[in-house]
């Protein structure tokens, strides 16, 4: 179910403050964050985030197109290491 419109988008308060602070200072250092559920608002555009995926931080430079998505959508939490059936078996023996 989608979020009620009445509430507006969910934006992590502390993260938003940090972005505002950066805006004033004019710097664009990557911001480390665990707030994966935070919606990307227009203020975030052209800032860089380091989004935690449970293990490491993924770097993301926010562009216009990303507004409205959540930060977590850009830092995958699962790794897929190809189904290598036959090849895998040969390597350990050989």
């Amino acid at each position: 179910m989608s979020r009620s419109v009445k509430k507006g988008p969910y934006v992590d308060g502390k993260l938003f403050e940090k972005v505002q602070k950066q805006k004033e200072m004019g710097s664009s250092e990557p911001i480390r964050t665990w707030a994966r559920s935070c919606t990307i608002v227009p203020d975030f555009v052209s800032h860089t985030f380091m989004i935690h995926n449970g293990k490491i931080f993924h770097k993301l430079f926010v562009t216009d197109d990303m507004v409205g998505h959540k930060l977590g959508e850009f830092a995958l939490t699962r790794t897929f290491r190809a189904h290598g059936g036959v090849k895998k078996k040969e390597t350990p023996h050989g």
């Binding site: 562009t63 197109d65 990303m66 998505h69 977590g72 959508e73 850009f74 995958l76 189904h83 059936g85 036959v86 078996k89």
Partner: protein, 127 residues
Amino acid sequence: MPRIAGIDIPTDKRIVIALTYIYGIGKVLSKKILSELKIDENLRAKDLHEDQSSALGAYIEKNFSIEGQLRRQEMQNIARMKSIGCYRGIRHKVGLPVRGQRTKTNARTRKGRKKTVAGKKNVKELG
């Protein structure tokens, strides 16, 4: 044969149904359109008055995107998601289900025909 909103030529079915032959219009939207224009749902498409069919065409074109336009929109949306590399975009790229369905089994629509893997546990035991 009546033409509504350009290319579509529905047959001698009731218009509620005939309209759904247009890509982008389903039964619900079709009913809504007809009640908006005060046209009887049970009328056959061929019995439509000329004013009515032109009114239908104009109304649909004004309010909804259909056919090619809609298909283009959809493609653009997917292309956008692919280009920004969000989760949904990635799922589209790798051809797996996009909306969180399970992939341990099923998901054959997205993954295509089954690829049998030789030497997999079950296969071996059987042989």
